[in-house]
């Protein structure tokens, strides 16, 4: 089961990054696309807790840092998503929250994630990162992520729950 779960999560991460950079670029609002990888990390955090979410956040973030056409210092998304996975995992309610709970979790995660990424860019003095631009991008990103939550998160969470070991059955029944 753990091997299968790792495989499914790896596939989810690759698919999320591919969709986020490829087809979803056509649906961009002012250049901002939904953070699908962040939604995956939040779903894992809500179902599996902080430890696994931090790990998925780190590995997925690193992949997003390195996937073309990324052109920033590597490790910035990794850092942002580790924190998102850990924090959302801490405040979860064993995956029993409804869709509103999930949307709040995504809103918080998206805000923390995009802010941390922007902040590391400001600290490193990366080209193109300015405070005014950051303030333009973050609200759009958060709203876009929250808007997609009802469509995407239930599916991701159901999948994550199915992959959990049998001893967690009572959580599903509750």
């Amino acid at each position: 089961m753990p091997a299968l779960r790792a495989l499914v999560y790896a596939a989810l991460v690759v698919l999320a990054i591919g969709l986020q950079l490829g087809p979803f670029a056509d649906l961009a609002i002012n250049g901002t696309t939904p953070d699908l990888l962040l939604l995956v990390v939040v779903a894992v955090a809500l179902v599996d807790g902080p430890q696994r979410a931090a790990l998925i956040g780190f590995l997925g973030g690193l992949a997003l840092d390195l996937a073309p056409p990324a052109d920033h210092v590597a490790g910035r998304w990794a850092l942002a998503l580790v924190v998102v996975g850990y924090l959302v995992g801490l405040v979860r309610d064993d995956g029993r929250q409804g869709i509103v709970g999930a949307m709040v979790a995504v809103a918080a995660g998206s805000f923390v994630g995009t802010s941390l990424f922007a902040l590391s860019g400001l600290v490193l003095d990366e080209p193109g990162v300015t405070v005014s631009r950051v303030l333009e991008v973050i609200p759009v990103a958060v709203l876009y992520d929250v808007a997609l939550t009802p469509l995407v998160l239930p599916l991701l969470m159901a999948l994550a729950r199915r992959l959990q070991p049998a001893r967690d059955d009572w959580v599903r029944a509750a």
Partner: protein, 313 residues
């Protein structure tokens, strides 16, 4: 319920991972040219290049259908048979339009290549960097196996798109002109004056370039055409490719400089087919311009006036 031990372990794991991320950032940020992260970037390009390409291919029909649905909204009340018929015909028409557009842009790029004596490799844009990343770069589906290498010029049928930042085997990353870190040498078509064009990093696809002329006494006029100046050896930019038109001019008396805003010809929000200049061939045009024969050599073109070429587009 999570036990105390579990939460302590989670905290430790998250802490270690955050430190690892900071380490990666530190290693990549302090390395100048040869970052130890670069091989990883190439490896990830090998994985994500084909994934992005595949997803782009797979979702193309969906995009066409989605465009379709919004155009037939007004026909909802018609009977089902007619509606289906209209939809089918429209879908056909739309793809014809799309095909024609692509064909036209291919033709225009070919002409550009022929006129300037460029050898072009045509590629498809498969992924676009999001605004959240604060950079303007795209992935194309051509790489070193097609002859694409770093620091090559990328054009489309409208003009200069940018340069190749990194090339993997089957994909490459292109830095767009409008990225905040992009600098291009340009020549004002009207009087051949030189200047540097910097991207403003605007993320909403309405990006403009800032032109600073080398000679501060030169005042660009709105409407002036700007073409590439061309670097020695044609890398990263070959000479004579149209960049854009001067949109507005501001001069500041205190530092005696003039900054002009240049609107690029290329529509960066609708990038589809692009061409990479992989080399120079003999020009095939039969224009009487004697400088034509020298265009194969990029260093020669630097001296030859590109104004005629700018008009020729």
């Amino acid at each position: 319920m999570p036990s105390d031990r579990d939460s302590r372990r989670a905290r430790a794991v998250a802490g270690v991972l955050a430190l690892a991320a900071v380490t990666v950032i530190a290693v990549d940020a302090t390395a100048d040219d040869d970052s130890p992260v670069d091989p990883l970037r190439n490896a990830s390009g090998e994985v994500f290049g084909p994934v992005e390409d595949g997803l782009d291919e797979a979702t193309r029909p969906i995009e066409e259908v989605a465009d379709q649905v919004t155009t037939v909204d007004g026909l909802r009340d018609d009977n089902a048979r007619l509606q289906a018929e209209v939809e089918r015909l429209r879908a056909e028409l739309e793809t014809v339009d799309l095909d024609r557009e692509r064909l036209e842009s291919l033709g225009a790029m070919r002409r550009l290549g022929d006129e300037h004596g460029f050898e072009l490799v045509t590629a498809q844009v498969t992924a676009v960097g999001p605004a959240q990343s604060y950079s303007q770069a795209v992935t194309i589906d051509a790489g070193t196996s097609d002859g694409v290498e770093a620091d090559m010029t990328v054009v489309n049928h409208q003009g200069l798109v940018g340069r190749v930042l990194r090339a993997d085997v089957h994909s490459a990353t292109v830095l767009l002109l409008v990225d905040a870190s992009s600098v291009v040498g340009g020549r004002l078509g009207a009087d051949l004056e030189l200047g540097m064009l910097r991207g403003d990093g605007d993320l909403s696809d309405a990006g403009e370039l800032t032109l600073t002329t080398m000679d501060p006494t030169v005042r660009p006029a709105p409407g002036d055409v700007v073409v590439t100046w061309g670097s020695r050896g044609g890398a990263p930019y070959v000479a004579g490719v149209p960049i854009g038109r001067v949109a507005s001019v501001q001069s500041s008396p205190e530092d005696q400089s003039t900054a002009a805003r240049v609107r690029p010809y290329v529509d960066f929000s609708a990038l589809d087919l692009v061409s990479v200049v992989v080399g120079a061939t003999e020009p095939t045009t039969e224009r009487a311009d004697p400088t034509d024969t020298e265009r194969a050599d990029p260093t020669e073109t630097e001296r030859a006036g590109p104004a005629a070429r700018a008009e020729g587009r």
